[in-house]
Symmetry: C2
């Protein structure tokens, strides 16, 4: 029954029942973490053979004979660049291989824009600088912007990407310098931008000539079922509009090989690659090439990498299903929650009754289940509707997830009852 | 015979003989590189066993059980922090373990000062900012300063460290914000700062409260003979003067394990560690912990690491000796060159007759031996005396070095003859 149709009495009875179930959970002393998109140990086990692939004699040499143990090769060994080029569907010359973190590559790029500009006056010397933030979005993107004192303007995420009407208005302001997006299996909603949306982004004509879109393609091969989404190649679309300098794409193997010991990469236009290399030449003598070599030796090529991802999907699929199954049975038809059924990525996004997400977070925490702090998916940590909850189902086991999801659903219902009862009383 | 005592005729004859020897070398078609402090393949071979130390079951777990393959642990796993703490003689809490590059940690720290200040107004908003540059010094330090538009003020390196009288004058200017130094086996001279010099640096009272000394201890355990230098602990000296916030120390295993796949670390006061972590929290989810684990598993502790360095010394010592032997026989007593006999580090610094270093570089290059470009050891790439030449003897074999050093010595003599003949004619 839809909660909005319940009488106060019915709501009170519902609340009592839920409170009983909640207290039972609480007494179990759970300790589960669904706060971060962290692969499970089993997912990490499947890549262990990678670790001895550079040990044996001469095995430390790149295809061109370069000794990967030594200094040099600023932008990555050729075969590793090729692997990422194939993955992101760009030319090898448009790839820079980084260290173990694409977040680091994004942070460094924004730092570079602040200090050196993007073919322009340093952003730090341009007065108040603003970024567009499609939300709900990735908290660490917002963190980078906040760190550099860049003002964040929230724009809604719609079913097929960010609200482009709004964005096309905002970019008429030349102090609006860019936006971060996760275009495929977006964090947290698991939305993939439609072709039309990608084309509209690719053809934007911002007033700021140093406008940059950070295209965080973190989940480019992270399908979990048999109907994967397909994302349009943004560089191809951008080239048609002479806009290729507007995009900085990043990805990493954090959720392909090892989160703590993967390899990150960046794709960009010739101009941007040159500007970034100019900085990197001063910043480092080169990233870890033995680890680049390990990855190429192990995956061999894009097909190898894609096959590898099927093993991850096998482990992740039952976890997503466990959560979605629980939501369907506990929350459907009650008018107090909406969620999406993503084809890939690392998250399920749940919108609870407005004004209850924080309370749901508290209830879960008190009963031993840690969620991403509600609000984190919005700029400045403030969800204007206090509604969005990000669920990261990858780390716990299926059994644990079933419990955690049930507790979460109970908490969503309990918080809704509390809220609705407050209204009527 | 001292060249200054030679007649024009004697100089001409000397020049002819040298030219003959030079031409002979040139005809050999050498191709040797003494330009960078790059370990030789043999040096890298000795550490190969490190590479399989995290492969076997459960071997990827840190001492506290943490799965090093996964996300987390911003400042490094505890046992790796301890190894660097012992190495740099500081508390574990004052260590941050980085990626594979201490240059990157220094660059990021200066970037942080530019954008966020050092407990102060961002340097970018303080107008013209200056750094003291003891020279000859490390070209990549100068590169970082130049990249950020920081004005470089050259100060002479004396026999036991930088010219402190001069420095104590310069720091009265509050726009002078810091200096980079290599306090042990300095790059390029191989000088280790005397205790008195370290104490003077540690007790400086700069007008700028956000003054920072980047204490690049790259060669802290890089002895090559049985009479190693000892460097005073700068943090202990600084604490006595309430100056511990003034120092940022870095080091790495680039020349201990693998230049391309080592581990870097930073040591600093509680205040500075907090400020750096505040940035890192936004910049990354953590560096490569499997590589940290490899290093701890392999070296075990500081003694293990020191024993390992003896193997490097065995390989490096004959190379330094080959160059120094050649200089002694070819250049001694001629009044045209001075050099130091370092107890460790990666370089030999040669001061040729004033106004000839560039010419020596050209002569060597034409005959197939690449040196660090003369001038590179000074800010803006300009050696005011055009005299200093940095020799990096680590990469070529002893046989190759004997040839390269002889060619270099011949070139130094030839350039001196040319210069002196120009004067008298």
């Amino acid at each position: 029954m839809n909660y909005s149709e319940m009488s106060s009495e019915q709501l009170l009875r519902e609340k009592e029942e839920l409170q009983k179930r909640y207290d039972e959970f609480k007494s179990q002393g759970l300790s589960l973490d669904m706060s971060r998109g962290k692969p499970s140990p089993k997912q990490l086990d499947i890549t262990m053979d990678m670790l001895d692939s550079v040990k044996f004699e001469e095995a430390y040499k790149a295809e061109n004979g370069f000794d990967c143990r030594n200094y040099g090769v600023l932008d990555g060994i050729e075969e590793c660049k090729k692997l990422f080029a194939d993955l992101l569907e760009v030319d090898t010359k448009n790839i820079i291989v980084g260290g173990n973190s694409s977040l680091n590559m994004m942070f460094d790029y924004i730092a570079q824009c602040m200090v050196n500009g993007a073919g322009s006056t340093p952003w730090l010397q341009q007065g108040n600088v603003k970024f567009i933030c499609p939300a709900p979005g990735y908290d660490r993107h917002f963190g980078v912007l906040d760190f550099f004192g860049i003002e964040m303007i929230t724009v809604d995420m719609l079913a097929d990407g960010p609200d482009m009407d709004k964005i096309e208005e905002l970019i008429k302001d030349s102090s609006v310098k860019g936006m971060f997006v996760v275009p495929k299996y977006s964090n947290p909603e698991g939305i993939t931008f439609s072709d039309e949306c990608v084309r509209r982004i690719a053809s934007m004509k911002p007033a700021a000539e140093d406008f940059r879109v950070i295209w965080d393609n973190a989940y480019c091969v992270h399908d979990i079922n048999d109907t994967p989404d397909k994302l349009l190649n943004v560089f191809e679309a951008a080239k048609k509009c002479g806009n290729e300098d507007m995009f900085i794409e990043v990805t990493s193997t954090s959720k392909i090989s090892f989160p703590g010991a993967g390899v990150a990469a960046l794709a960009a236009s010739d101009n941007n690659i040159n500007a970034i290399k100019k900085r990197m030449t001063i910043q480092t003598i080169g990233n870890d090439k033995l680890n680049q070599l390990r990855h190429v030796r192990y995956f061999k090529n894009l097909d190898g990498l894609k096959n590898h991802m099927k093993k991850h999907a096998e482990l992740l699929k039952p976890k997503f299903e466990a959560v979605l199954r629980c939501f369907a049975s506990e929350l459907e038809g009650k008018g107090i929650a909406e969620w999406k059924n993503p084809n890939g990525g690392y998250f399920i996004s749940l919108n609870a009754l407005e004004g209850t997400a924080k309370r749901v977070g508290e209830l879960c925490k008190e009963a031993g289940v840690v969620l991403t702090p509600p609000g984190a998916t919005y700029p400045y940590g403030k969800d204007p509707k206090d509604s969005n909850i990000r669920i990261a189902p990858s780390f716990p086991s299926v059994e644990e997830l079933e419990k955690a999801a049930e507790l979460l659903a109970i908490s969503v219902r309990l918080a809704a009852c509390e809220k609705l009862l407050k209204k009527v009383m």
